[in-house]
């Protein structure tokens, strides 16, 4: 069985893996869509680990071990992924003459989520970083099990605030595939606008934070001001500043894009402000010089750890779900993906800058089409029993939601693989050889979430 999985890993894009009461599931994406390979666990609950050959499964397989008592054979790092009974497993330390250890967290000195970072450093240079999250683990998947699929939608939207719309989109796509419903062109267009607005406000926040981490006060202040305007545009477009519940199974929420002209007008004004901001930000040589060469992720590392989104496309990666398997309105309005090759903080910031510009173009195009395309109310969908995977391109990359629906229309099991979950192990690798004070800079060039990783 593991031979088949290994062959699949080489021919398709691995998305991740998870366990359930009876089986393990490995998810893949090919140009024809997402699919799963499941293996019954049997009485011994033993399963061969793939993490030795494909490090990207490391966290997934540790989680299977923690949550579903799967006995992973030959798992390279067999520590629990999450805290057990409130106690975090020991961090991995690098040892040697002159190597010091510093632990940061879980409470941080800012308005951010909780996580523990253990630095092993020789002087200023980081030898090893162990990032241990799970402080925001609430038991989301357990809570959702047994819930009627449509009732679960507002809960799914609240797993993680920063990628809420993309997750709702993936969840809706998973259910709609299962129910085999046709989505109206107007709804597809509205969903594209919502998904791109989410990318817009997130990327603006990421660039502002990356500027702050490199010591640029104006870069931060102006960036947070345009991010605020983007959030107000989200409010105008969907009735919620973070786009919660804008995308629902079967359609979009009632307040979403009911009135197009004011949104188009605000979009145009914001675009002018953002263009001016981006030009000034990237023309600031002393700021950009700090981004250059910080936190390099080479292509091989990005591939091995399964990097997704801008983190992957800044390291010579080529996958953007919007262009790889176009969905919804991306079929009629093709997105142009952004790429870079250096794999450093600058490359990631540049990809995000280019994606911001592309988002404006896509939103503008979709809104203009929406002026003449009816946007009907959300359909009531009847979801039959079965298994389905929904995949979309969120701000940080591939957002995967796998659903198992039972005969009564309830979630038997739901599993969320967020883009941040894929990228976190890479942040730790990106720090190797960088200096400790550059951690904020490297970290913010990824700017990953914690809540959707911990769930």
């Amino acid at each position: 069985m593991s031979e088949r999985l290994i062959a699949e890993c080489r021919s398709a894009i691995p998305l991740g893996a998870y366990g359930s009461e009876h089986a393990s599931y490995y998810l893949f994406l090919s140009s024809s869509g997402a699919y799963a390979i499941s293996t019954e666990l049997g009485a011994t609950r033993e399963a061969p680990s793939l993490a030795e050959t494909f490090p990207l499964f490391g966290w997934d397989e540790r989680e299977m071990q923690d949550e579903w008592a799967v006995r992973m054979l030959n798992l390279p790092d067999a520590r629990p992924l999450r805290a057990q009974n409130g106690v975090m497993p020991e961090a991995v330390l690098a040892n040697g003459t002159g190597v010091m250890h510093a632990v940061v967290g879980p409470v941080h000195a800012g308005i951010i989520e909780p996580g523990r970072f253990t630095f092993s450093s020789g002087g200023e240079t980081v030898v090893h970083l162990d990032a241990q999250l799970s402080y925001a683990h609430r038991g989301v998947e357990q809570k959702l099990a047994g819930m009627p699929v449509l009732d679960a939608a507002p809960f799914v939207a609240r797993i993680c605030g920063g990628c809420s719309a993309s997750r709702s989109f993936s969840y809706a796509r998973a259910l709609e595939t299962l129910a085999a419903v046709e989505i109206d062109p107007g709804v597809d267009l509205a969903r594209l606008v919502v998904a791109e607005l989410e990318r817009l406000y997130n990327h603006l926040a990421d660039l502002a934070a990356s500027a702050a981490a490199a010591g640029s006060g104006p870069g931060f202040a102006r960036g947070m001001a345009v991010k605020e305007r983007a959030m107000r545009l989200c409010q105008l477009a969907s009735g919620h500043r973070l786009l919660f519940d804008a995308i629902v199974p079967g359609g979009v929420s009632a307040p979403t894009l009911r009135d197009i002209p004011p949104v188009l007008a605000d979009l145009s004004a914001l675009r002018t402000a953002v263009e001016s901001y981006l030009d000034k930000l990237f023309a600031n040589v002393s700021l950009v010089a700090r981004w250059h060469g910080a936190g390099i992720v080479d292509h091989a590392t990005a591939q091995a750890f399964g990097a997704v989104g801008p983190a992957q496309r800044a390291s010579k990666g080529q996958v953007d779900i919007r262009t790889f398997v176009p969905y919804g309105a991306y079929r009629s309005i093709p997105a142009r993906a952004a790429y870079a090759s250096a794999g450093d903080a600058f490359a990631r910031c540049r990809v995000k800058r280019d994606e911001i510009r592309e988002s404006f173009r896509l939103i503008g195009e979709a809104l203009r089409q929406l002026e003449t395309t009816p946007r009907p109310a959300a359909k009531t969908i009847n979801v039959p029993a079965g298994f389905s995977i929904g995949v979309t391109e969120g701000p940080r990359g591939t957002e995967t939601v796998a659903v198992h629906v039972d005969k009564t229309g309830r979630l038997e099991r739901i599993h969320v693989i967020s883009a941040s979950y894929r990228n976190w192990p890479i942040v730790a690798r990106a720090m190797d050889g960088n200096i400790v004070p550059d951690f904020p800079l490297v970290n913010k060039s990824f700017n990953l979430c914690y809540a959707c990783v911990d769930r």
């Binding site: 805290a83 975090m88 951010i112 402080y135 683990h137 609430r138 809570k143 797993i159 809420s164």
Partner: protein, 176 residues
């Protein structure tokens, strides 16, 4: 001294398993539109500098001890201010298998700002009410609670704002 520092407010943020939505709105307090530094308020990097601890999330098993340590390390008097429905124990994940009943409930918050997430204006109103509650704690000569438990016993009860109104809330706080 009390009058010298009357208008300053040190705010320390503590995420107890929120979805990051409340954090997005908390961060907005620093942007040019809401800029709380105009009021002499600031987000501070240590609980030792803080007058107000803002807490978000339903409280996770893993954050329970760390969050109590943070409150313990905060200088007195202080006010625990809950931000969001989760902190109020009314969010989607309250009572989930690894979550508690709300960070502000478990940490004996003086005030909770409702919303999913609350808007920056609502959070500002909550901070104003927290400042008012704090000044009463100072004026009354109370040294402030040494343990979170005492906050509940002597000084306040959780006030859940369905529709946040700063004036009404501070009146309620004084009557408790």
């Amino acid at each position: 001294m009390a009058s010298f520092f009357r208008k300053s407010l040190g705010i320390r943020h503590l995420s107890c398993g929120s979805c990051n939505g409340c954090e997005h709105e908390m961060s907005a307090l620093n942007n040019a539109y809401y800029d709380i530094t105009r009021d002499g308020w600031d987000i501070v990097a240590s609980p030792r500098h803080a007058d107000v601890i803002t807490v978000t999330g339903p409280m996770t098993e893993t954050m329970r001890n760390a969050s109590r340590d943070t409150i313990e390390a905060t200088s007195r008097p202080c006010v625990v201010l809950g931000i969001g429905d989760c902190a109020a124990g009314k969010g989607p994940w309250a009572g989930a298998s690894s979550a508690g009943g709300g960070a502000a409930i478990e940490l004996f918050g003086g005030i909770v700002v409702r919303g999913c997430p609350p808007t920056p204006e609502d959070i500002r109103a909550g901070l104003k009410a927290a400042a008012s509650l704090l000044s009463r704690r100072k004026d009354s000569g109370a040294a402030g609670p040494r343990h979170p438990v005492e906050i509940q016993d002597e000084h306040s009860t959780a006030i859940l704002w369905e529709e946040p109104s700063p004036d009404g809330a501070s009146d309620e706080a004084s009557s408790s």
